[in-house]
Symmetry: C2
Subunit: 239 residues, 2 copies
């Protein structure tokens, strides 16, 4: 890409993206942090979330930059990305001019991220989210992580977005346990099944059941046709 300085270039803020990558593993939500280099300009040796400058000689969109930053740290090529807020101000990166920080969270499947430590080109760690919230992270990443986790939990209240944590085919019990974890409450098995069935949000994989040491559970997939609230009980009548 060729580009010349223009009369406006010095009036533009820095723009970067930050991604909060989540996985669901061992019954817990974990978030990816990496340790900044000891030679970094600022926040040396501190932990932070994957991030990248939106450099227009490299990327056309913020999503491109986000995908790049995420793949670099996780090896995932087609991530589930949700943009949740754009921060801006002088405090985000004290070493630079006013900064704009476009933030995403990403719901990843345990089996698609780097599995072996030494495969990882950076010093990255999947940290329990509750523990990560207590770390002193670089930049504004404490604020970013806090809001990302809040939004993730909220999404479990009224959407089926958390299915992206699970394998393509999963059981209702698996989804119920995950949802229960995110909303912090037990969910009645019977009621949960009723609502799932009535909502049409999942499609039954006819004839496919998981092998197990008990009655084999029915497998389902997420119905991408499904629009709207997962739990559509709100203000209005839903027939």
């Amino acid at each position: 890409m060729t580009y010349k300085h223009d009369k406006y270039s010095h009036t533009r803020p820095n723009v970067g993206v930050t991604i909060t990558p989540f996985i669901y593993k061992d019954g817990k939500i974990k978030v990816l942090l990496y340790k900044r280099s000891k030679n970094a300009e600022v926040f040396k040796n501190q932990f932070c979330l994957p991030n990248r400058f939106f450099d227009i000689t490299e990327f056309n969109t913020a999503e491109d930059a986000a995908n790049f930053a995420l793949e670099e740290k996780t090896n995932v090529k087609i991530p589930h990305l949700t943009q949740f807020k754009t921060f801006s101000g002088l405090e985000i990166d004290p070493s630079r001019i006013a900064t704009v920080n476009i933030c995403y969270y990403s719901i990843l499947r345990e089996d698609e991220v780097f599995s072996i430590e030494k495969e990882q080109p950076f010093e990255t760690y999947w940290v329990d989210v509750e523990k990560a919230l207590n770390e002193d992270l670089a930049f504004n990443h404490n604020e970013v992580l806090e809001l990302a986790y809040k939004r993730l939990k909220a999404s479990a209240e009224y959407t089926a977005e958390p299915v992206h944590f699970l394998p393509v085919k999963f059981t209702i019990s698996e989804l119920r346990e995950l949802t229960s974890l995110l909303i912090g409450q037990n969910l009645d098995n019977s009621r949960y099944r009723d609502r799932i069935k009535k909502s049409g949000v999942l499609t039954e994989c006819v004839g496919e059941r998981r092998k197990s040491a008990n009655r084999p559970p029915q497998l389902y997939t997420y119905n991408y046709e499904y629009e709207g609230f997962f739990y559509p009980k709100s203000l209005t009548k839903h027939s």
Copy 2:
């Protein structure tokens, strides 16, 4: 503010803010559009939403830029602003390099905006939102308006945000009619009152009733202490 060119300045995208200002008037939702000048670099004479470049010699944050752009067109100094999405790409402003577009909608009260046409320093119009959606707007403003309106309507499903359309003191019937308009469904009077009362989202203005040619209705204010969903019926048990 003093600032020098640095080695990164030519790699930064343009950053701008776009605001979708809504009011509720004559039983309809209206949006503010203005006509671009016939001397504009691009999209001459076309309608668009209030917008502004995020020029760091003028503003420290995107919110500052949004407030400026909104006050310029509406005269409102402390607006209710909700950020809903940041767009980016080459197509937003074809005359420039890659652009980042931080978008807000604003819920305004009819009585706080410029009331007299000639007071307005720009050629602005409050247009019925359904009509505005059919206009051919400048930049990506069709997409912006569409999503802004969608998010506004969604907010009425599970939050009390639309109270910001109403005067500080209002009646339950007024809120019900507004909500009904936004969600596109009739709401049962009795049920609606029950839910409002139980939720604690409104505070009764004790002893204050509006004068009218019928039984005078009780006035309420929004309870800023209220946290969470307006209509908290979703997945979980709510006692």
